[in-house]
C-alpha cells in the first residue's frame, strides 16, 4: 500500500469574521484580506513539514491546487512539486492534480511535468483533474467546455510524452503546430497518472477506461463502494479486472498524543464552515455547463434553496461517528483506519492530516505520529489484505500498455 501525507496548505492567517460578514470565503472573497507576510511564513512552514513527513517515513506527498480562497494556498501545484523534487530524496511527489482545462498550453504542462520528473529522478505521479467550478471562474476558463478540454489536454500530453516530435496537434480546443519539447519524463512510458474525484460518474468511467487509479476524496464508505462498482464494470468492459492498485482513498485524520488534543485539532477540518472549499454561491462551484447534464435539475433546485445540499451538512461529531474524520492517539487512529481500509480496500491511501488553525508544534507532532507510527501499521495491515499499490502490482501505466487484457494476444506496444 502506498501511503501519502496531504494538507490543503490552509491560509489560516485570514480574518475569519470578514469571511462570515461577506457570506463567502471563496472566489469573490476579497484578497484585501490576504496577508503576504503570514503567507510567506506559512509557505515555508508547510515546506518544512513536507520534509519532516519524508524523514518520518511517508511514501508520498500529495499536492493540489486551488484559487481565490483561503482554504488552499497552492495556486500552482507544479511550484511545490518542483521544490519538493529538489529538496526531498525518496518520497513520491503526487500531484492530484493539475487542473487540465485551466491550461491554454498542454504542451507546456507536459514540459513542466517532465522537468519535475527528471529533477526528482523519477518520483513524479502526475495526477490530473477537471478542477472545480470556482477554478474555472478564477482563471477565466469556459466551464461549458471543461470536460472536453480535460480529455483533449490529457490526450495531447500523453502523445507529447510518448510520440517522438515534432508533430502537429489540430484539436477542437487546442491547436499547436509544432509539438516537440526538449524535456521528456524520466519514467517510461510516462509517469503514473492518478485521477482524484468526488462524485462524477463520467470521470470514474473515463479513469477506468484509461486504467488509471481513481482516488476517492473522502467519500463515505457507501459512496466509495459505488465508485468501485462503477469502475469495476467499466474496467471489465475494456478487458481487465480492477484490483486495489486501481483505487485510492483520501481521508481526514489527525493524530496527537492524547485523544482530547487530537479531537480539538481535528475540529479545524470544519474551519471552512464545514465546506471543503469554503463558503460559496452554488453557481460558483457548479457554473452552467460544468456539471453533468443528468444532474441539472437537482442542481438548480439545490442552488436556489429548494432542495438540500446532496452532501448534507453533517456536524463534526457526525463525521467522526461516520469515519469521515478520524482523530485520536496513534492506536485509536490505527484501529479506525483498519476499519476504513477493510471496507474500502485501497492500494493507495492519502491522509489529509492538518487543516485550518492547528499550531505549528501540533502539526509537526501529528506528522511524526502519523508517518512514524500510523502509516507503518496500516501498510502492514494492507499487505495482510493483499492491498497492493500500482508499483507492487506492477500495473501498466495506461490501458494501452496492458499485457493481460481479456482476449488480448499481443501487447499493444
Amino acid at each position: 500500500m502506498h501511503m501519502m501525507y496531504f494538507t490543503e496548505q490552509p491560509m489560516s492567517a485570514y480574518d475569519e469574521q470578514a469571511g462570515l460578514d461577506f457570506g463567502a470565503t471563496a472566489l469573490n472573497f476579497s484578497n484585501s484580506h490576504y496577508n503576504s507576510i503570514e503567507g510567506s511564513r506559512l509557505y515555508n512552514e508547510y515546506l518544512e513539514e513536507y520534509i519532516l513527513a519524508e524523514e518520518c517515513g511517508t511514501d508520498g506527498i500529495m499536492l493540489n491546487e486551488h484559487h481565490n480562497a483561503p482554504f488552499c494556498m497552492q495556486a500552482r501545484t507544479n511550484m511545490f512539486a518542483s521544490i519538493l523534487a529538489a529538496v526531498t530524496k525518496r518520497v513520491k511527489i503526487v500531484i492530484l492534480g493539475n487542473p487540465l482545462p485551466l491550461t491554454e498550453n498542454p504542451v507546456q504542462l507536459a514540459e513542466e511535468l517532465a522537468m519535475i520528473d527528471m529533477i526528482s529522478k523519477g518520483r513524479l505521479v502526475s495526477g490530473f483533474v477537471r478542477g472545480g467550478g470556482q477554478e474555472q471562474l478564477a482563471n477565466g476558463v469556459n466551464p461549458a467546455f471543461n470536460r472536453e478540454r480535460f480529455m483533449e489536454a490529457h490526450d495531447l500530453i500523453q502523445k507529447t510524452w510518448t510520440q517522438p516530435g515534432p508533430f502537429r496537434w489540430e484539436g477542437t480546443h487546442y491547436q499547436q503546430r509544432v509539438v516537440n519539447p526538449w524535456a521528456l519524463p524520466l519514467q517510461k512510458p510516462y509517469p503514473r497518472v492518478w485521477i482524484p474525484g468526488v462524485l462524477s460518474k463520467e470521470t470514474v468511467i473515463w479513469t477506468a477506461q484509461q486504467r488509471y487509479p481513481y482516488i476517492a476524496l473522502n467519500t463515505s464508505i457507501a459512496a466509495t463502494k459505488l465508485i468501485h462498482e462503477t469502475y469495476d464494470k467499466a474496467a471489465l468492459d475494456v478487458g481487465y479486472t480492477a484490483g486495489p492498485e486501481n483505487f485510492g482513498y483520501l481521508i481526514r485524520v489527525h493524530v496527537q498524543d492524547t485523544e482530547e488534543k487530537a479531537l480539538e485539532n481535528a475540529r479545524q477540518f470544519m474551519w471552512m464552515q464545514g465546506e471543503f472549499t469554503g463558503l460559496a454561491n452554488p453557481v460558483w462551484a457548479n457554473p452552467a455547463g460544468y456539471f453533468s447534464p443528468s444532474g441539472r435539475r437537482a442542481f438548480v433546485e439545490f442552488s436556489t434553496g429548494r432542495a438540500k445540499n446532496p452532501r448534507g451538512n453533517p456536524t463534526f461529531e457526525q463525521q467522526v461517528a461516520d469515519t469521515m474524520i478520524v482523530a485520536g492517539t496513534p492506536s485509536q487512529v490505527i484501529e479506525r483506519l483498519k476499519y476504513i481500509v477493510e471496507n474500502t480496500r485501497p492500494g493507495i491511501m492519502a491522509i489529509w492530516a492538518n487543516d485550518g488553525n492547528v499550531s505549528k508544534q501540533d502539526r509537526r507532532r501529528c506528522i511524526q505520529l502519523l508517518c512514524g507510527e500510523v502509516m507503518p501499521a496500516i501498510k502492514e495491515f494492507g499487505a495482510s489484505l493483499g492491498l497492493n499499490d500500482p508499483w507492487e502490482a506492477n500495473a501498466p501505466v495506461h490501458l494501452r500498455y496492458s499485457t493481460d487484457l481479456i482476449g488480448q494476444k499481443v501487447a499493444a506496444e
Binding site: 469573490n28 461549458a144 452554488p282
Partner: protein, 258 residues
C-alpha cells in the same frame, strides 16, 4: 384581436430550429434574450397584431436543438440568415432583445443592405464605454433575470413563482451563453468597426435602469450605426419588452411601420 401563433421546426445547419410565427404584413424577426424566452408575451402579441412576426428559439436554447459547434453569436446570425433564405423572405426587419440584439447587429453588419429596419433593445455585443455587462456566471439563476427588471413586481408578473422547469431552462440558456460568448464576455471586439456599413434605419431602445447592459453601450450603438436614434424608457430595466411591453411595442411598431 386575438393572435394565433403557429409553431414551426426547420432543419438548419444540422439542427432542428424551433420558431413561433403569427400575424401578417411586413415580416419581423424577433431575437430573444440570453435567458431565452417564455412562449407568449404581450409584446409579441402586440407586434403580431401589425406584422408577420417570427420568433425563433436560439440554437441550443428552449426548444431548438443544440449545435455543438457554435462559438459566437455571429454563427447564430448566419443560422438566422439561412432560416430567412429557406423561408424565402427578404427585406425583413430585425428586433433584437439584449443578447438577441447582438445577433441582429451581427446579421446587419454582415449584410448591410439586407434588412429593412433594425430595432435594438438593451443590446449586448459591444463593450460599453462606461461600466461592464453584468456577469451572470457569478449570480444565482433567479437573481440574474430579476436584476434585469427595475420593478420586482414586473419580474413576478412574467415569471410568478419561478418553476423548476424555468430554472432548468435558465441553466441551459446560461450554458449556451458561455458556449457562444464566454470571452470576451457578451461583446465582440470587431463588431463596432463593422456597424458603420449598415444601411438599415435603426432604433435603439434602452431601459433607463438597465443593470445588465449599461446605457453607455446604447449611446455607442447609436453613434456607430449610420442612421440610428436612441430612446430611453423611464423606470425600466434590461428586459424592457417584458417590463414595459406597451411602451416598447408602440415605439417598435411605429418605427417599423415607417
Amino acid at each position: 384581436m386575438s393572435v394565433v401563433w403557429a409553431e414551426m421546426v426547420k432543419e438548419i445547419a444540422g439542427i432542428k430550429l424551433h420558431a413561433s410565427r403569427a400575424g401578417s404584413g411586413k415580416t419581423v424577426l424577433v431575437l430573444h434574450h440570453d435567458i431565452g424566452t417564455v412562449d407568449r408575451l404581450p409584446f409579441y402579441d402586440a407586434l403580431a397584431e401589425k406584422f408577420d412576426v417570427i420568433i425563433p428559439h436560439h440554437p441550443g436554447w428552449g426548444k431548438s436543438e443544440r449545435p455543438g459547434w457554435t462559438r459566437h453569436p455571429r454563427d447564430i446570425a448566419a443560422i438566422y440568415a439561412w432560416l430567412l433564405a429557406d423561408l424565402g423572405l427578404t427585406g425583413v426587419s430585425l428586433v433584437g432583445l439584449g443578447f438577441g440584439g447582438w445577433i441582429a447587429a451581427e446579421m446587419s453588419s454582415l449584410a448591410p443592405e439586407a434588412y429593412a429596419r433594425l430595432v435594438l433593445v438593451g443590446a449586448m455585443g459591444i463593450k460599453p464605454p462606461e461600466g461592464d455587462i453584468a456577469d451572470q456566471a457569478i449570480v444565482s439563476y433567479i437573481d440574474y433575470p430579476s436584476s434585469g427588471f427595475h420593478d420586482p413586481a414586473a419580474f413576478a408578473a412574467v415569471y410568478g413563482d419561478v418553476s423548476t422547469d424555468q430554472l432548468e431552462a435558465w441553466d441551459i440558456a446560461r450554458e449556451m451563453c458561455f458556449r457562444n460568448a464566454w470571452k470576451p464576455y457578451m461583446y465582440s471586439q470587431t463588431l463596432p468597426h463593422l456597424l458603420g456599413g449598415v444601411r438599415s434605419p435603426a432604433l435603439v431602445i434602452w431601459g433607463d435602469d438597465d443593470r445588465i447592459v449599461p446605457l453607455s453601450a446604447g449611446h455607442a450603438y447609436a453613434k456607430a450605426l449610420r442612421d440610428a436614434t436612441l430612446t430611453t424608457i423611464p423606470e425600466c430595466g434590461h428586459f424592457a419588452e417584458m417590463e414595459k411591453p406597451d411602451a416598447v411595442a408602440k415605439l417598435t411598431a411605429d418605427f417599423l411601420s415607417q
